[in-house]
Amino acid sequence: MPNVDITKLGKKFGRVVALSGVDLEIKDGEYLAILGPSGCGKTTLVNCLTGIVDITEGKIKIDGKNVEGIPIEKRDFAMVFQNIALFPHMTVAENITYAPFVNDISPSELKKVESEMLKLVDLLEQKDLYPRALSGGAQQKTAVARALATREKLLILDEPISALDYKVRVTLRYAIRKLVKELGLTAIHITHDQEEACSVADRIVILRAGEIVEIGTPQELYSSPQTLFTLNFLGESNFLEGVITEITSDGWIHISFRNNQSIGLLDDNVDFEEGESVVVAFRPENAFISKKSTENSLIGDITGKQFIGGYFRYTIILRTDDEILLDSQLDLGSQGNVFIQLNPKEARIFRAPIYGLKKVLTLE
């Protein structure tokens, strides 16, 4: 049964470091998403796994077997490519049965695989069409079926649905996850789309500039990320820079911001000290806005309002001079003074990064 064990993996192209110190274990039957902005090394990681490029340092074991020096065609995995890469001169059926065909199985077996796979991805009616005659979604289904027909238990999906329309993407990603789970496969799914990663994966690996930032389930990474980068990259967030003025014995941390604005928050982290520079981060849905004056709140002016569907999203300029985004179901008009109470448990406090907030949040 397939499990993948990556230790201290590094890859350099000349002097450019594409990956460094990547440690990752993928368990049997797991659906793992590798998420990161473009240029973060996702594709290089996959290329190392598949053998398209040689690794510079470290080790990759698939099923406990070191894969170094084994060519692509002899490694045990199936793959769906970013640009789909269907063979243009073969029909859907011929594309799907390419793996059994090159392994020279008997024609009757081949027919069996063909009808099984066509049924699986629901392409029976289009089996004699050429790829160019298919919609984007059908093309990608064909590519998935072609990969599954290899009968490998490890499936690698490199941005498999990024090029498709939104609705098709949403339908396909559920379909792919369902197939993987039904067939008991291990899947590695590369994507730059955080919504896609969250909706398909059991665990997500966040990759940035060739290094792993964080690994966790989608819920863990969304609601209690360990880094500012993850918080910013996964979903939306507001960041306020401030200084701790007081830590009370009952766990309240008082923070003051620019222009003498201050609030108190609750945090379990007892390592903070008074006088320390921190960043307060909170998601747009984790604050309460009101026209009336409330306690322990920040004051600001609404400068924009958008109806998102079910709620409004406000752009607010705080007295601290920071611009933030907040969601609320109340219609508060598109201007005017408001009071913002942060959910004291959901707002998170991070130590101020040494090289500045901007540097930490940039995607490259």
Binding site: T50, I52, P71, I72, E73, F77, A78, M79, F81, N83, A85, F87, P88, H89, E94, Y98, A99, F101, V102, N103, D104, R146, A147, A149, T150
Partner: protein
């Protein structure tokens, strides 16, 4: 210096572009271009076909009643057809692995090898013929340098070896150009499905590559059918009396102009012209048919793509096998293309003889070089000025008419050069408007012959450039010609230059067309042919060849350098 030249060229283009921006001038200009192509390039090229129909009685009376003519024609056609078919098959068998390696593999001497393959293109075929004959052949009149193989006495194997040397670089170049367009990911995808490298290449890339194979076949066939000067020199160096279709035309033409040679091998004077016309028409017919058949074969042939031979294909994909394949292919390239092409340098070093230099006609030597450069330059300039608009017409104006032009443009390219020269000569002698001027006729023949190079290259460049850029410029308010000048031209000028290089070098090396228009016009390749065939002054012939190589490669080098400098900017 170069900088200024280029900006002058650009300024000229700008001025032309501005003037032609006016709608009425625009229409008039394109009409003129089409008129020029149809009446002065295409029609002269195939004029002989009409002549054959009109003068059919004369042909019946001479060709069909004269055994000697018939046997000469049959023997010549046998050589031409069998050689071109065999050579094109060899070209493919060895060209594919070499093109593959050049495109898909990274190795140490890759760039060196890339330029090595192009080197023979700069050698005029007359010189190549001598060089190849020296290397492979038993040469009664010339002392060959040491290391010569000196093995071949017969015309057929000699012709095959020679044409392989001349066509192989073209075939490899066209194969690599198309192979580069095919996405590597497809092969990788095939390998993730468990296909060995060889299976992946054969079942995925090769089927998509069929049009490329067809183009390469056409190139190879057309070129082997066409060569004249090289063949004359080759066969006379090994002392063979055999003739191919093109050399028979040029021999007959020579006899036709020189009363002393009449009757030519038992053929009376009056029979010569109809016989030539008949043979030229057949050659044109054969060329067009072969090209057509090659295209059909490449498109329709059911190669066994839906079958695999796992054990065999794994064996050739693994371990030492791929390396062995490469070594064999490259060894072959060096032995059959590179060394034979440049063997004449060895001769030049070893056989340096003052006597040969002293007895030479230096005045004629200088004249021939001058004339070659003149003809090639004029033809190239005319081709650029008229070929680029033609390319725009084909690539950018999408009506049926331009598709029709697209098909017609290649015709002068596949017509064997002697047949083309003969036909062009016949056309200009036939028309009553312009008085006989042999230099002018020779230039016109060279224009017809090289016109497709510029058009094809420019069309290629235009197709690479997304029309969206031009549309964006138009939406920003640029006039059509402004768009051409500021968006299109800077991108396609490299393709135009590449076409110009091909046109110029082809013209510099051309013998057959020149001889068939006018046997008395001595361009440098004709001078070389005469030196070898008539004067037996092999040393001077080799020297002239080297000078022509230097002229061509200097041109190629300066243009290449200016391109790479411009690209770096």
């Amino acid at each position: 210096m170069l900088q200024r030249d280029r900006s002058q060229l650009e300024r000229l283009v700008i001025r032309i572009a501005n003037f032609t921006s006016k709608p009425r001038v625009n229409t008039a200009w394109y009409s003129f271009v089409v008129f020029f192509f149809v009446l002065l390039v295409l029609l002269p090229t195939i004029f002989v076909l009409g002549y054959v129909i009109l003068e059919f009685t004369a042909i019946q009376n001479s060709v069909f009643s004269n055994q000697e003519i018939q046997s000469q024609i049959l023997s010549a056609l046998f050589y031409s057809i069998s050689v071109s078919i065999i050579v094109s098959i060899f070209d493919l068998i060895f060209g594919l692995p070499i093109a593959w390696t050049l495109v898909r593999k990274e190795f140490r001497f890759k760039s060196l090898l890339n330029s090595f393959i192009e080197l023979p293109l700069a050698v005029p075929t007359a010189g190549l013929g001598f060089s190849v004959a020296l290397f492979w052949g038993v040469t009664p009149g010339v002392e060959s340098p040491i290391f010569a193989v000196q093995f071949i006495r017969n015309a057929l194997p000699m012709l095959i070896l020679f044409h392989f040397t001349t066509t192989f670089p073209y075939v490899v170049r066209s194969l690599t150009a198309i192979l580069e367009e095919i996405d590597v990911t497809l092969e990788v995808a095939a390998r993730t499905c468990g296909a060995s490298k060889f299976t992946a290449a054969r079942t995925v890339t090769l089927p998509m590559f069929r049009s490329g194979v067809a183009t390469a076949m056409v190139l190879s066939l057309a070129k082997s059918l066409s060569d004249t000067g090289g063949v004359v020199v080759l066969l006379s160096t090994i002392g063979s009396a055999a003739r191919t279709g093109t050399t028979l035309i040029s021999d007959w033409k020579r006899a036709h102009q020189d009363p002393e040679m009449i009757p030519f091998e038992g053929i009376p004077y009056d029979s010569l012209l109809p016989s030539m016309a008949f043979l030229a028409a057949i050659m044109i017919g054969i060329a067009i048919t072969l090209v057509f058949v090659a295209k059909i074969i490449a498109k329709k042939a059911q190669l066994p793509f839906r079958k695999v031979y796992p054990s065999f294909e794994w064996a050739v994909s693994e371990g030492k096998a791929p390396q062995m394949r490469q070594i064999i292919a490259f060894g072959f390239l060096i032995l059959f293309v590179i060394i034979p092409s440049f063997f004449l340098v060895a001769y030049l070093i070893q056989g340096a003889s003052l006597a040969a230099l002293a007895s030479a006609n230096w005045e004629l030597f200088g004249q021939s070089i001058f004339m070659t450069v003149l003809v090639a330059s004029v033809a190239t300039v005319v081709n650029v000025v008229l070929g680029v608009p033609m390319a725009i017409l084909i690539a950018r104006k999408s009506h049926t008419f331009s598709r029709f032009l697209d098909a017609l443009v290649d015709i002068p390219y596949v017509v064997p050069s002697s047949a083309l020269g003969f036909s062009v000569g016949l056309f200009w002698a036939f028309q009553p408007v312009i008085p006989v001027n042999e230099l002018f006729f020779v230039i016109m023949a060279h224009i017809s012959m090289t016109f497709p190079f510029i058009v094809r290259n420019t069309v290629g460049g235009l197709e690479e450039l997304d029309t969206a850029y031009e549309d964006v410029a138009r939406t920003l308010g640029a006039k059509p010609m402004q768009t051409f000048r500021e968006i299109t031209f800077p991108v396609i000028k490299f393709s135009i230059i590449a076409g110009a290089i091909m046109s110029f070098t082809r013209s510099v090396g051309e013998t057959g067309a020149t001889l068939a228009v006018s046997p008395t016009s001595t361009t440098a390749p004709v001078f070389i042919v005469n030196l070898i065939k008539i004067d037996q002054n092999y040393f001077l012939a080799a020297l002239t060849t080297i000078i022509l190589i230097l002229i061509s490669s200097m041109l190629i080098f300066t243009l290449r350098a200016s391109i790479s400098r411009a690209k770096r900017k």
